[in-house]
Symmetry: C2
Subunit: 219 residues, 2 copies
């Protein structure tokens, strides 16, 4: 395995999407967990559905739409003030505890992020986290308007990095993202933070680690 770049998914992999819970609990006492859970699920669903329907909108728009749906579904107030406060929390998600240490140890390598997020949300998030200088490239599907897990989305990484499929090690906590990347031909490491079963999509990840420390043993 001749890996020439390490490419990281962002939401759920480097950053904990459920760190919005705190703000949600503040705005809707005791409801933070449920809001966060339904919001994330609907966000992913809307990205899949819009891609299937051929009705692309940015991940920022999808994130707001899915939040609005979630608040309506839970019969909670969905004023633009509250929605804006929660959307702002999405620009300040917490990185997982090991992220900075692992990335710092890998800094001699070529490192990139590759996300469904549009630059409008991705760039401030990474800037706020102080991790910007560690990445050589911030790659967003929004430049091609093709969401993961379509082959066209993963193909954009090849164009940006000017590498072959098998020269890329891709890391994601999202099982569906790993399945898509594996089907496309990347080397894959599934960061299985929640001890889920392997997706039954016919393709196993090349390796599975409970957090990003595992990557250090592999490269």
């Amino acid at each position: 395995m001749d890996i020439k770049a390490l490419v990281f998914d962002v939401y759920g992999t480097l950053f904990n999407v459920h760190s919005v819970k705190e703000k949600a609990d503040e705005l809707y006492p005791m409801k933070g967990d449920e809001i966060s859970r339904q919001w994330r699920q609907k966000q992913l669903e809307y990205s899949f559905l819009r891609q299937l329907m051929g009705k692309y909108e940015t991940f920022w728009k999808i994130t707001e739409d899915s939040l609005r749906y979630t608040l309506k579904n839970l019969k909670l107030e969905h004023s633009s003030e509250k929605i804006n406060a929660l959307m702002d929390a999405y620009l300040h998600l917490s990185p997982y505890p090991e992220v900075e240490e692992v990335l710092t140890k890998l800094r001699s390598k070529r490192l990139a992020v590759f996300s469904n997020g549009s630059h409008k949300m991705l760039d401030p998030l990474i800037k706020h986290s102080g991790l910007s200088s560690l990445f050589n490239e911030i790659i967003s599907v929004d430049d091609r308007k093709q969401y993961k897990p379509t082959p066209a989305a993963y193909h954009y990484v090849l164009d940006r990095l000017e590498l072959e499929r098998s020269e890329i090690l891709f890391m994601s906590s999202n099982g569906w993202d790993i399945s898509g990347a594996r089907a496309f031909g990347f080397q894959t490491a599934w960061i299985n933070r929640n001890q889920f079963p392997v997706e039954e999509l016919g393709l196993r990840p090349h390796s599975i680690f409970p957090d990003l420390y595992g990557i250090l043993t592999q490269v």
Copy 2:
């Protein structure tokens, strides 16, 4: 509105997918509800993901794969004996209580079903329910290997019925299916059995009813 055919989605619309609960409760006491809920959610997710990845498999295979995932996720025994028993229950789902009455009242119209299900699962289900004679056509996406909500899937209905988009009234309980059909250009009636909010996908259904009785007021 000059409607020339009434086209019904199957799973969740004519048949209650959660009628597998009884068999699931028998095999896994007290777990039927959770199995049924997670199974359905994963089944839809896998149909979306396989379409996005360009890795089509039949809905029967997807239904079995999503059941296996669900049982593993809940740390329950997943022997082929138990899986086969639950898959068999999927061929004997219960129609919703008003289905036969409503379809009988509509029998002078051209009626069709249109489903992600492959004929292997759709044909026995409809046969077991005794409703076969009420439908002029049983249309499965499997003939085109394009899942809803892609435009290509809805297009197959036009080819089979030899009609224009606006001549079709499509009914589904699945909000995402209604969004896809609306985006494609069908007339749409959302059978909102669970009082969910309208999907935040930018397209409202033409009409919304709590069950199929509402259709009788419209045609």
